[in-house]
Symmetry: C2
Subunit: 174 residues, 2 copies
DNA sequence: GGCTGATAGTTTAAGCTTAAAATAATCGCG
DNA sequence: CGCGATTATTTTAAGCTTAAACTATCAGCC
């Protein structure tokens, strides 16, 4: 028969509880994943059909658009939450396409700065306008209040996840 | 200057509104994506570290676990929301690893049925238990009520997105 | 029986993604 | 100053992912 096991909630709290299936949490996680995948796949296919651009390229350009003075690869990889090595090839392809430009920092020659070219900026502006409409259309079934509530709850979720990950990291590598 | 443009909400409703930046909707979408990526990356790395298994393999096994009699590749691809061609290689690797087995349907030789092997079932059970704990840990900062509310709002979001996609499909290919 | 169209999977080419190892430049500190 | 640690990026190998083209099979219809 199963026994009670310790469940670590964060670095300070250890509660002993009877083993559970965590059914509600799992269902919530699956629903979250479903929603994200649904929206992401739709946006991906529209970007391809309408602008012949991939989602990762759009995302990268969106980051650069928010930071006109350019960003380092390190900043980009942490903002986009993708691995560092991933960006090397992605940036390379966008440079080849003339949408972005890279230059090595003069003060620290390890650092590579990336920024939109004027043509990349123009292309992104076109895409961003429609992208915004698409997102708004996908979320049109939610009221202002729904959006606000979701925002708040997802913020709570984000904080919870980060704190749990932080705690796990401390236990794994003290 | 910008002009008012029609915004299609669904197949019946067309509202004319001044062009907006849809800022709240975009922020919500980015937050949703952040939350999902956060959890997904954490689970991915734990699965790798603890069980040396990739997330797609875990997901596939989870689907088969829910349906012990096995599934066709078509069912799998629609439940997992991945492309059909994707599964061919994924299934191949799991067959090689002895975790699942495939057999051609006897009544329809186009159809391929896939199911967990006993060893795959055992391996999945071990992983699923810890996976559940990890998810519960990541969501530990949410109350029961938060989870219920999120569930409800995400359900609304899912319905909204599906309906917008449905409507777009009708306009694109009537 | 033999078309015709639809359905289930596979293949292919290109691109994305990660983890881990390697490279290269800078920083801190004695 | 010089050397070990740190930091930023690239490289590599494996695997995931998609879209589109292709193959094989089936179902219906005459």
């Amino acid at each position: 028969m199963e026994q009670h096991r310790p469940v670590f909630i964060d670095s300070e709290t250890v509660v002993s509880e009877r083993p559970r299936d965590h059914k509600d949490e799992l269902r919530l996680w699956l629903r979250l994943l479903t929603c994200t995948t649904l929206v992401e796949d739709d946006i991906r296919s529209r970007l391809r059909a309408r602008f012949d651009v991939t989602l990762p390229r759009f995302d990268l350009m969106a980051q650069l658009h928010k930071t006109p003075q350019g960003m380092t690869l390190g900043q980009l990889s942490s903002r986009m939450m993708v691995s560092n090595g991933n960006l090397t090839a992605l940036v390379e392809r966008l440079v080849d396409a003339g949408q972005i430009e890279r230059r090595v920092s003069e003060t620290d020659r390890r650092v590579v700065l990336v920024a939109l070219t004027p043509s990349g900026e123009a292309a992104f502006s076109d895409m961003a306008r429609e992208h915004g409409d698409w997102i708004a259309g996908l979320l049109a079934g939610l009221s202002k209040g729904d959006i606000e509530q979701l925002m708040h709850l997802l913020d709570k979720l984000k904080i919870s996840a980060r704190s749990a990950m932080q705690a796990a990291r401390h236990r794994t590598a003290p």
